[in-house]
């Protein structure tokens, strides 16, 4: 199987950016992971200010100088700071080597401030990854749900989006995004519960399911186990482990002259 990981962070132990990335890739190698999507270095912030966004994106840019042949950089944005986020999108994607957008928990995706960011990402053909968790308790009022991401997708029905964590509580998450055919399910960053891949394939179709780990905080192994242990064909597993992600990356990488 060829494996690309949609969901990695630069938060491995290490005193330098280089050491953290070396550790991440050393273990990716142990698990047979060829390429990774990388976003968010330090500091780790749910509500990043423009200064934090710039700093954490700088870390990813630094890493890409050495690891550009194996890592795809995604720019971390916060629509609360719309102007500055658009500037970061220009700096890191339009005029830089990054190929995707990562949005986390800083500003709900149902708020209008996100719209210009989505529209610029569409122009750039950037891969669009949005965190989403359905929780049975309120923790962060700015965290988005799969239902809110589905509503956003409905405004831009031709633009592929990725629902991070499959919504966490994935049985409801898949139902929430099912009717929006351009939303893909990211499998990383939640417990390796049996049945998740089987339901995703059944309800969304195999082309809308993408492997990711959420490393360093999650292990490659537990998250790979979701796919490798699933009761689906090897052909479908290969799509989930690499081909579906590669298809989303292809337009922007082609436009940038990046071979993938």
């Amino acid at each position: 199987m060829k494996i690309w990981d949609l969901h990695c962070h630069l938060n491995a132990p290490g005193t330098t950016i280089s050491a953290r990335m070396d550790a991440l890739m050393r273990h990716a190698d142990r698990m047979g992971i060829e390429r990774i999507c990388l976003f968010m270095g330090t500091p780790w912030s749910h509500h990043p200010t423009p200064a934090i966004l710039e700093r954490t994106n700088d870390e990813i840019l630094e890493v890409l100088k050495t690891w550009g042949d194996r890592a795809f950089g995604f720019v971390y944005l916060n629509p609360k700071y719309q102007r500055e986020s658009l500037d970061e999108l220009e700096r890191c994607v339009a005029n830089g080597p990054m190929v995707g957008v990562k949005l986390w928990q800083g500003w709900k995706c149902s708020k209008p401030e996100i719209l210009p960011i989505v529209e610029r990402a569409i122009e750039l053909q950037a891969v669009f990854f949005h965190h989403a968790w359905l929780k049975n308790r309120e923790e962060n009022p700015e965290a988005s749900t799969p239902m809110e991401l589905a509503a956003l997708s409905a405004r831009y029905p031709q633009f592929p989006m990725i629902c991070g964590h499959s919504g966490g509580e994935w049985e409801s998450g898949f139902r929430a995004i099912r009717a929006q055919p351009q939303i893909h399910a990211g499998l990383g960053g939640f417990d390796p519960t049996a049945g998740v891949v089987e339901m995703a394939v059944r309800e969304l179709g195999p082309a809308r399911v993408i492997f990711g780990s959420d490393a360093w905080g999650r292990s490659f192994s537990s998250q790979l186990g979701k796919v490798l242990g699933a009761d689906v064909s090897d052909h479908i597993k290969q799509g989930i482990l690499r081909d579906n992600l590669r298809r989303l990356l292809l337009p922007i990488c082609t436009a940038k002259g990046m071979a993938i």
Partner: protein
Amino acid sequence: MLLKAALAVSTAAAVNRQSGQAWGASAAGNTAEFVDTNVYLARWPCRRLWGDETPRLLAKLRAHGVTSAWAGSFDSLLHRDIAAVNVRLAGECADSGKGLLQAVGAINPALPDWEEDLRRCHEVHRMLAVRLHPNYHGYTLGDPRFARLLEHAARRGMLVQVALRMEDERTQHPLLQVAEVSPEPLVDLLPSLPGARLMLLNCFRSLRNNRLLLARLVRTGTVSFDISTLEVVAGVRAMLEATPGIPLVFGSYAPYFNFESAWLKLRESKLSANQLHDLRVGQAQAALAGTTRPG
């Protein structure tokens, strides 16, 4: 009825003298032995699982080289007739387990006359261990009933497994909201219960970030920990380095988790041959040291 496996190695004499070849390994140093300390039979209350038919679970375990799997029952979470749950579990392990499955009965100390359930597990079903689910049964590890249960189990020479969680709290069914069990009371309790032996299952979601508590639990010398919920890249190695002497055992938590998730952790961490042996079989055997079945 109980497994053939292991009690091996140099610890064999100390381990399970009465039961002989049971639940553990077979030959000293036989690295082919592989103990999964954390599997379940029957039905998860909220979802059908790939392995909730015993033959499928067995096929998966065998395909990955597991030689002994300690099996509890999902039925024990909500059923009040625990005695019947344990009868079914023991029967399924004996009839379908084909030497691979070791039944681990459930005890609910919040039910009247749980002592009789414990007696039957030990004397009738000849189990060496029992498994507790305190959050589903509504008590904490600071509850005097839990201390009494540990005392009774120790007197019988039985290992007690405690599942600290069954599911991510954030994703629980709205009508089945149960908080993760805190192991903190064990630090004060265990020194007063010589002979008690404890294994914590599904335990690392909270313990991973509470190194002080983890170190105190390790120092009691009577607690082991399964790796099913040990997250972070190369988490096994990191845990062994950060907490010297920690007794880690292999536990997959199959079929709720895909078996491969824990299995791949053995590859993700760079481990010495001794560390790998300890994880696969040695620490599981050690956890059974001193356990006995009635003659």
